[in-house]
């Protein structure tokens, strides 16, 4: 049974994955839900033999966890607009927030562009290859003729620059107003 490899790894790895999901912050029943849907997906999707199967399962668990979290926030927003549409009740809409959101998004873009322009060219190129083009570190290292750890240093530098610029931006534009936070949390 060459195609049941992942499922065979999944069953013994289940306790580890449960621990991992709990460590990531999943509630006990949420973690169980995620593992159950993983089991179903694995049973029906028949992948070929995978090397590093536990890494595959950890990654899958992470994806499911994030989809769960981000999906919750989206669903809540959708439910609200559905209620509005069904009840025929016009929620008092203040046009200000959406204009402000647009403004913040464009400021965010401007800020990121500034950070990237300020980076050493090689750092920016490595970041682009990794983050935009999805090229693995090992391949970037081989293509540029440098070590994997050098690639990772460039990437850490690029991400740190972005993080720092963002922190500064958040402090200046007030709390809880960043696009990143909309993904995970619910705003009233």
């Amino acid at each position: 049974m060459p195609d049941s490899g992942l499922l065979q790894t999944f069953l013994p790895a289940r306790p580890e994955l449960l621990r991992f999901l709990r460590l990531r912050g999943a509630m006990p029943d949420e973690a169980e839900d995620i593992l159950q849907s993983m089991g179903l997906k694995l049973a029906e999707q028949e992948t070929g033999p995978v090397d590093q199967p536990r890494a595959y399962l950890y990654r899958m668990a992470t994806n499911e966890f994030l989809l769960h979290r981000r999906g919750d926030a989206r669903r809540r927003r959708r439910d609200e607009s559905w209620v509005d549409a069904q009840s025929g009740f016009m929620r008092e809409v203040d046009p200000q927030p959406s204009a402000e959101t647009v403004l913040i998004a464009s400021q965010h873009l401007h800020l990121l562009q500034g950070v990237i322009t300020a980076m050493p060219e090689r750092t920016a190129t490595i970041f682009r290859l990794f983050r935009l083009d999805g090229v693995p570190q090992k391949t970037i290292a081989a293509d540029l003729g440098i070590s994997v750890s050098a690639v990772e240093k460039h990437l850490a530098r690029a991400y740190l620059d972005i993080l720092q610029a963002r922190k500064k931006f958040d402090e200046e534009s007030g709390p809880a107003r960043h696009p990143a936070h909309e993904q995970g949390h619910h705003h009233d």
Binding site: Q52, Y58, N63, G71, I116, L132, A156, G184
Partner: protein
């Protein structure tokens, strides 16, 4: 506290970078690191959210052009399939998120939608699954290019290649798939689409779709497939077994009289290899199921007897020739 907040952020960042292509040992070590201190998970989630927030901005950012002195090893040989080292087939199958991370920069032709659209491309032999919303999932076969809209989960465009669509029906917002000047509007369904330069094939497993080439309308129901010649503007509808729709996902290809030429194209997409057919047998019908579970490009000659052909390799291309033809 032995580590400062910024040290912790940097450590979390290094994990985040390493894990993108991490192996078993990296993930085990990461779990142990999370267990050391609850602050670790929080720092990691912050880094993850920051990275995720880049998604919307990335297509609009300008990066410095790579130095001209740097040779581009991949772009240099146009016709060769992308090197296998880039993507493993199985590694792509698990990650909706991983696929979402690979956003390619798309330029001007999208008019006012410009910034919210993004492109996902699979290399030959690779396969990826994209979740557009809770009920809509799209699986891209190898050598396929699609465009999605971050602001509109009910839109997709298939530029070329093959994809399987599991679409949740919503009368208010029907799902629309664009292909050139044609479009498909779903009526709640599971369907497979192959888009080639001069041909479109659609097979419906569940529900129904409406194929609209240049404003016309061809309804297709479960158990039907359609083959359209897009240049001539003709389409032929025939029955198909539900179970075989999208069977390429399981690395099984089923045919009920399809021409060998089409079989070769399908094999090429799934295996990540260039496969051509001698014109003398290009239209020969193929019946039955080909299991390519254990087939890698180097093992393509194993298919010779199943397809009743002779397999010849010319450069990087496999050519299927008549089994008993004259030897060159």
């Amino acid at each position: 506290m032995t580590e400062t907040a910024s040290d912790l952020t940097e450590t979390a960042l290094r994990w985040h970078i390493r894990l993108r292509n991490g192996g078993d040992a990296d993930w085990d070590a990461f779990a142990d690191w999370l267990a050391q201190n609850p602050d670790h998970a929080e720092a990691y989630a912050e880094v993850e959210a920051m990275d995720h927030a880049l998604d919307s901005a990335l297509p609009d950012l300008h990066f410095p052009a790579p130095q001209p002195a740097e040779p581009q090893p991949v772009a240099a040989n146009d016709d060769a399939p992308a090197p296998a080292r880039r993507w493993r087939w199985a590694a792509g199958a698990g990650g909706a998120l991983a696929a979402g991370l690979v956003l390619a920069l798309v330029g001007g032709p999208f008019g006012e939608h410009g910034s919210s659209r993004y492109q996902i491309t699979t290399a030959p032999g690779e396969s990826r699954t994209i979740d557009l919303d809770a009920g809509t999932q799209i699986t891209l076969n190898g050598d396929t290019q699609m465009v999605f809209d971050r602001k509109d989960a009910r839109f997709a465009r298939l530029d070329h290649g093959e994809a399987l669509f599991a679409v949740q029906h919503d009368t208010q917002h029907p799902f629309t798939l664009e292909m050139g000047t044609s479009r498909i509007v779903d009526i709640g369904t599971l369907f497979n689409v192959v888009s080639l330069p001069d041909q479109t094939r659609i097979a419906v497993a569940e529900g129904a779709v409406d194929y609209r080439p240049d404003g016309q309308s061809i309804p297709l129901h479960a158990g039907q497939q359609m083959q359209a010649d897009t240049a001539a503007g003709t389409a032929r509808v025939s029955p198909i077994d539900h179970d075989t729709v999208g069977s390429w996902r399981h690395r099984r290809l089923s045919y009920d009289g399809s021409p060998l030429e089409q079989v070769a194209q399908d094999l090429g997409r799934v295996l990540g290899a260039a496969i051509r057919v001698d014109a003398r047998i290009a239209h020969r019908p193929v019946f039955g199921t080909i299991d390519v579970q254990d087939i890698t490009p180097v093992r393509i000659p194993l298919l010779a007897s199943a397809l009743n052909v002779r397999v010849v390799k010319q450069g990087k291309t496999w050519i299927l020739k008549p089994a008993h033809g004259p030897t060159p």
